[in-house]
């Protein structure tokens, strides 16, 4: 959002915002270590998404590919999507039984703002994997799922 112009009051409605995110995801993001796409190409309301994070270097996650599920309800992006890991992972902000990213333990979801995107969530989770409290945690076997 640009500041200082009258246009800062323009609110992009949910569906057009998700179409923008879809197009950005299709083009490919940055170095490709995070990506996402729609789960069900027929769902006109674009609710279910799959995200992927490639584990960052110099951590126990290096070389692993993590799959996540994101669900954007009707109140997105006023409210954050629900986010859970499909691939098993041991991480402080992730519920050990369900794989759900717990908003209370993950600032981006707890302090959600309308401008944040699914890309921001995945990028921030990747950073979180490399944080001192996560980078050396013992991990479940690769290729197992919640």
């Amino acid at each position: 959002m640009t500041l200082g112009s009258g246009g800062s009051s323009v609110v992009v409605p949910r569906n057009f915002r998700l179409l923008e995110e879809l197009e950005r995801g299709e083009k490919g993001i940055g170095d490709g270590t995070v990506s996402y796409g729609m789960d069900d190409g027929d769902d006109i309301y674009m609710r279910s998404w799959t995200g992927t994070i490639i584990g960052p270097h110099n951590t126990v996650h290096e070389g692993r590919i993590y799959q996540l599920k994101l669900f954007c309800d009707k109140d997105y992006p006023e409210k954050p999507p629900s986010v859970r890991f499909h691939s098993r992972i041991n991480m402080t902000c992730v519920n050990h039984e369900t794989g759900v990213v717990e908003p209370k333990k993950f600032g981006l979801l707890a302090n959600w703002q309308r401008e944040y995107t699914m890309e921001d969530i995945l990028t921030q989770l990747k950073k979180e994997m490399a944080a001192p409290h996560n980078r050396k945690l013992v991990q479940p076997p690769e290729g197992t799922y919640f």
Partner: protein, 161 residues
């Protein structure tokens, strides 16, 4: 208030859309976002998207949504179908392949002209510039059958309910 900076041009266009609607088209802004319109387009007569007459016209009502981005009118409105439709230039998510929504946009065009162009696109599907490859292929190999499918989808999904 989210709409306090609404440009005069948008206000004018909106007033005219409401007071002098184009035939077979309605567009009204949502209460909480004056740049976001609920649109209904009646499928044109003689097209596979028209409704059925049973004393009065039933169905053939297509719902769309339209958004005027911050750059409007220097950038085109964003429009998509919410009603499922079998058409070679419209994809599963309702996105529309239409030149004036992309590189042929001009600030001289308006919401009204965009919606009239979409209505015209329903009368003249263009399988040579497809957005849905499968539907375009169907159209080119067996147009009569593709038109039947389009009519079937109109009956199934474009009830206006």
């Amino acid at each position: 208030m989210a709409n306090s900076n609404l440009p005069r041009r948008i206000i004018k266009e909106t007033q005219r859309l409401l007071s002098e609607p184009a035939p077979g088209i309605s567009a009204s802004p949502s209460e909480d976002n004056m740049r976001y319109f609920n649109v209904m387009i009646l499928g044109p007569t003689q097209s596979p998207y028209e409704g059925t007459f049973v004393q009065l016209l039933i169905g053939g009502v297509f719902k769309l949504e339209l958004f005027l981005p911050e750059e409007y009118p220097m950038a085109a409105p964003k429009v998509r179908f919410l009603t499922k439709i079998y058409h070679p230039n419209i994809d599963k998510l309702g996105r529309i392949c239409l030149d004036i929504l992309k590189d042929k946009w001009s600030p001289a065009l308006q919401i009204r002209t965009v919606l009239l162009s979409i209505q015209a696109l329903l009368s003249a599907p263009n399988p040579d510039d497809p957005l849905s490859e499968n539907i375009a292929k169907h159209w080119k190999t067996n147009e009569a059958e593709a038109v039947e499918t389009a009519k079937e989808w109109t009956r199934l999904y474009a009830s206006g309910a």
